[in-house]
């Protein structure tokens, strides 16, 4: 799509500002009522989905050309999709998240690329990761010493796809190795991509670099298809979203599970039993790309159609991604199954969860904003009385730790896999 394709949506945004708040029916306090980190941190309407629609309309109408500030604002959207959920409580014909990302892309097409973005894209092209400074040659080191199949050498049914954070972060690497062992122990025929492993490029998409994303994604799809695996399992929510929601748009049709879904299945089938009791009070952070954006892709092609004179609909019926079918229960089922764990929910959960601050490449592009976003979430977690903040995405975990100088501000930050491994 092009930005101009969003013109009907830009025009019909009714300026209600619902996109700045969690769904009103869910509000419990003033303190945790906002949903959009960008508009909450920066304040101006411009940073909200409605502001982005208005800015986009002026660009499409050729009333404005991107200023440096406008380009900066397009980048400072976490692509977390909280606005999308709140908008769709009432609206049936607007797609704020898709538009926000398209606007980023349009600014890039106008030549507005920041040095940090360029560095990330150079890294993606050259080193096949968006974590600048990391090298392709080091990517497979996470699996050193691990007895696991290489899907290109030995046939395997299940591909374990660790993603960039688990591949490069030395603190996370042991967890990835243990996750593979867990899958193996459950009887899964698991393999990894070895030296062919690369970034899923989902972040490039979130940042509006569509060509770069497509190039990397097509290579990954080809590799996975060649290997002939039947299932992809990933512990990274960004990768999950890329495989589940984005890659199918390029013809990818392999089943995809986040590791929490896989573990949840093992528990419900009686294949995984927890032996240790963990006396912990935890709260769970829903990663945006596993939760509200974790809904499966449904192919659609069509046009707007007005019925009953003026009511805007789509023909054929357009899939409606509003977060209602995201992955929320699987991680909670796991937590409930672990003896001794007490789950205390935060005020903003499930489809109206507050972002960790790492989305849309913002942890690199706008670190101060990203850190503030993470700190807000940690404050919310602390307000529950929990001593541990659990999540299911390495980007979230690292952003929480990074924002608090790796000490969690008095609260422990764990990936759910770590918790599972502690309990077996």
């Amino acid at each position: 799509m092009a930005l101009s394709d969003y013109k009907p949506m830009m025009e019909r945004c009714s300026n209600c500002s619902f996109c700045k708040w969690i769904p009103f029916d869910k509000m419990k306090s003033v303190r945790f009522a906002a949903n959009c980190p960008s508009s909450t941190y920066y304040g101006f309407n411009t940073y909200s989905a409605r502001g982005r629609f208005q800015m986009g309309l002026a660009v499409v109408n050729k009333e404005l050309e991107y200023t440096d500030k406008m380009a900066e604002i397009t980048r400072e959207c976490l692509a977390c999709g909280a606005c999308d959920v709140s908008c769709k409580v009432c609206r049936y014909n607007l797609e704020p998240l898709d538009h926000n990302i398209e606007l980023k892309s349009d600014a890039l097409k106008a030549g507005k690329i920041s040095p940090v973005q360029k560095k990330m894209m150079d890294s993606l092209k050259k080193e096949q990761t968006m974590i600048a400074g990391k090298k392709k040659v080091d990517r497979a080191k996470w699996a050193d010493g691990l007895s696991v199949k290489d899907i290109f050498k030995d046939k395997a049914e299940v591909l374990f796809f660790p993603g960039c954070q688990y591949s490069y972060d030395k603190k996370l690497q042991p967890i990835a190795r243990d996750a593979v062992k867990l899958l193996q122990k459950s009887g899964a025929d698991v393999g990894i991509m070895g030296t062919a492993d690369a970034c899923c490029a989902g972040r490039a998409y979130q940042m509006g670099f569509f060509d770069e994303y497509t190039d990397r994604a097509e290579k990954n799809i080809k590799a996975i298809k060649t290997a002939g695996v039947k299932l992809v399992v990933t512990p990274c929510s960004d990768c999950y979203h890329a495989f589940k929601r984005l890659y199918p748009q390029l013809g990818f049709n392999v089943e995809v599970l986040h590791v929490v879904e896989y573990i949840d299945r093992l528990i419900s089938e009686g294949k995984l039993k927890f032996k240790k009791k963990l006396d912990m009070t935890v709260t769970y952070h829903d990663p945006c790309h596993l939760g509200r954006q974790g809904e499966p892709y449904v192919a659609w092609s069509g046009n707007e159609k007005k019925i009953l004179n003026q009511i805007h609909t789509w023909e054929p019926r357009r899939p409606r991604y509003n977060g209602s079918h995201g992955i929320y229960d699987a991680p909670r089922n796991i937590l409930k199954a672990i003896p001794g764990i007490k789950l205390e929910e935060m005020e903003r959960i499930r489809e109206y969860s507050w972002c960790c601050g790492a989305g849309g490449g913002c942890s690199e592009i706008s670190p101060e904003f990203s850190d503030w976003t993470a700190t807000e979430r940690i404050e919310e977690a602390r307000a529950t009385g929990a001593n541990t903040l659990v999540t299911a995405c390495p980007w979230c975990k690292n952003n929480f730790l990074g924002a608090t100088g790796n000490n969690g501000n008095g609260i422990k930050v764990l990936d759910i896999i770590e918790l599972v491994l502690m309990a077996i």
Binding site: R50, V89, R318
Partner: protein, 557 residues
């Protein structure tokens, strides 16, 4: 005329670099397609002017500093917080937009049932905080996304719960008001340091200045803090909603019930409404979902309680016999929430309601008694968090006819004529959605303590960005609905109120233009009074034209 560096830097010195912008992209997002607020502001391309700068003050002192600079340089301004509709936007080229988002502090005095808030406390968050103390607040009809300060101090503020809790005009207690000239007045008891509990003192009373029927509409300085009355909430400390988005359902205890009350004809409907008002059993009362249109309201209800249904499902749903049955049942309806303060109170209210239905041959719609719908209805009416459904069909709607505050008996007797006219309009052209004529809604009684009135508003759903849709609707309103109103001596059309606020092109009226409008009014005294108020407190006329005034010298002899 761009702001001089001298002015910009003076403003920047007050709010800080981070909280002011003159970037064209930022300024663009402080404009509004005027036709979205009212078709009369069309054609579709008309937008409110671009401000010279946008500022976000963080305190009353900063607001004061800004207004002093505005007076010094004759720079117009408009303050807003949530920016829903053109009312919050400037109407002049040489003007700045003040975004009150940074001011969001609040306090609750539960014992005295008072809440004090700054502008960025919206109705939803105010209610959520109040519920922790067994209290709640009137949420205006515009919905819970609106600023409490804006509604309670600046506009009318009636809503579905006004029958029990009173409208904004009745709930304002004290206010911290930065005068248009930059002076600060703290009114009522707070003005004498006695606390924020009374609007009439001990301390300066400003009700006649700041409030009245509709308030100052944001034109006379800036309210930075207000206190308002809270009402009892006999429920849990938060709204316990479950279910998938957007069909959240509140699982409330048995002392809360929502009903769709239906009647065989408008006469009996009106009599029953009068008795409901008199009996004081209604916690929330609103004729709501007819706003979608008589032919599609049951289908819309099914769409709204199912996360997988969409607007394109309307035709299919309308063929469903169950939906058809509900539509028929809901033809002449009223939605109420009954809340019992004690089990005995609930029992009495339920019995009284049943008796009223029995007397007037009414019934409770069966579909709305089913748990999924009943729980959703309670959520909807208690929080009023779905009000953007007003825009969901076409992106814009016009509230026309509007038998404002009218006697229920009389308005009910003529509403079918009005519906028939609208239905004819829907058939004659494609400019508005064809939804079956009756697309009316309104709160049952706009005054606390009862009163047999209803704030009728008839919806016409249109596309603000389709030229023919805007012009077609304007013609319809001028030639059909407004004509009907005047022919039947029903006062001016509802939407004409917004027409008086700014011109078609989105700009403010000049003083002369305003005087030309109001000199023809049969009772010009309030406008002359307001002119005097404006001259005293806003000598540089820095607001727009939302505050209706008439210079006594321009009065018709």
């Amino acid at each position: 005329m761009a702001l001089s560096r001298e002015i910009y830097e003076a403003l920047e010195a007050i709010v800080g670099k981070r909280n002011i912008s003159e970037d064209p992209g930022v300024l663009e997002t402080y404009r509004c397609a005027a036709a979205q607020s009212s078709a009369h502001y069309g054609p579709y391309a008309h937008r409110t002017p671009t401000p010279q700068a946008v500022l976000m003050p963080g305190s009353t002192q900063e607001v004061q500093g800004i207004l002093r600079i505005c007076n010094k340089y004759k720079l117009k301004y408009k303050a807003s917080t949530t920016f829903w509709s053109s009312h919050g936007y400037i109407g002049d080229d040489y003007a700045i937009q003040i975004d009150m988002r940074r001011m969001g502090k609040f306090e609750i005095d539960p014992k005295n049932m008072i809440m004090t808030v700054e502008p960025n406390v919206i109705a939803a968050t105010a209610q959520a905080e109040a519920m922790k103390y067994g209290l709640t607040c009137n949420i205006p009809g515009v919905g819970c996304s609106s600023s409490m300060v804006a509604n309670v101090s600046g506009w009318g503020g009636p809503g579905p719960s006004s029958i029990y809790m009173g409208a904004a005009t009745e709930n304002l207690l004290c206010a911290e008001w930065v005068f248009p000239n930059g002076d600060i007045l703290v009114s009522g008891s707070a003005g004498s340091g006695a606390g924020w509990f009374s609007d009439e003192g001990p301390g300066p009373a400003q009700r006649a200045l700041i409030r009245g029927g509709t308030g100052t509409r944001g034109e006379m300085g800036i309210c930075t803090r207000i206190s308002f009355k809270l009402s009892p909430w006999p429920g849990p400390a938060y709204l316990p909603t479950e279910g998938p988005v957007p069909a959240y359902r509140a699982k409330l205890p048995d002392n809360f019930k929502a009903y769709a009350l239906c009647f065989p004809d408008w006469d009996r409907w009106a009599q029953a409404m009068m008795m409901l008002c008199d009996s004081e059993i209604v916690y929330i009362g609103h004729r709501q979902f007819s706003m979608f249109g008589r032919d599609i309201k049951a289908a819309m209800l099914e769409i709204l309680v199912d996360p997988d249904k969409q607007l394109c499902d309307i035709p299919t749903l309308n063929k469903d016999p169950r939906v058809q049955k509900t539509n028929k049942s809901l033809k002449i309806d009223m939605y109420v929430v009954i809340a019992g303060m004690t089990p005995e109170d609930m029992e009495w209210k339920e019995e009284a309601l049943d008796k009223i239905l029995e007397i007037y041959g009414g019934w409770k719609d069966e579909r709305c008694l089913e748990p999924d719908m009943e729980e959703w209805l309670k959520t909807y009416f208690i929080r009023l968090g779905h009000k953007n459904l007003n825009y969901t069909l076409c992106g814009s709607y016009e509230g026309h006819f509007g038998l404002k505050g009218s006697n229920l008996i009389y308005s009910a007797s003529i509403c079918e004529d009005a519906f028939a006219l609208k239905k004819e309009g829907e058939k004659k052209g494609t400019f508005m959605a064809a939804v079956g004529g009756d697309a009316s809604m309104g709160g049952l009684s706009t005054m606390g303590g009862g009163g047999g009135s209803m704030m009728w508003e008839f919806f016409a759903h249109f596309d603000a960005y389709e030229k023919e849709s805007v012009s077609g609707l304007c013609n319809f309103i001028t030639n059909v609905s407004s004509k009907y109103q005047s022919d039947n001596k029903l006062g001016h059309d509802f939407c004409r109120s917004t027409e008086l606020c700014r011109k078609k092109d989105g700009y403010s009226y000049s003083d002369e233009e305003l005087y030309n409008i109001f000199r023809d009014r049969p009772q010009p005294a309030p406008y002359i009074y307001q002119w005097k108020i404006r001259e005293a407190f806003n000598p540089n006329h820095l607001g727009g034209s939302y505050y209706p005034v008439l210079d006594p010298k321009a009065q018709k002899k």
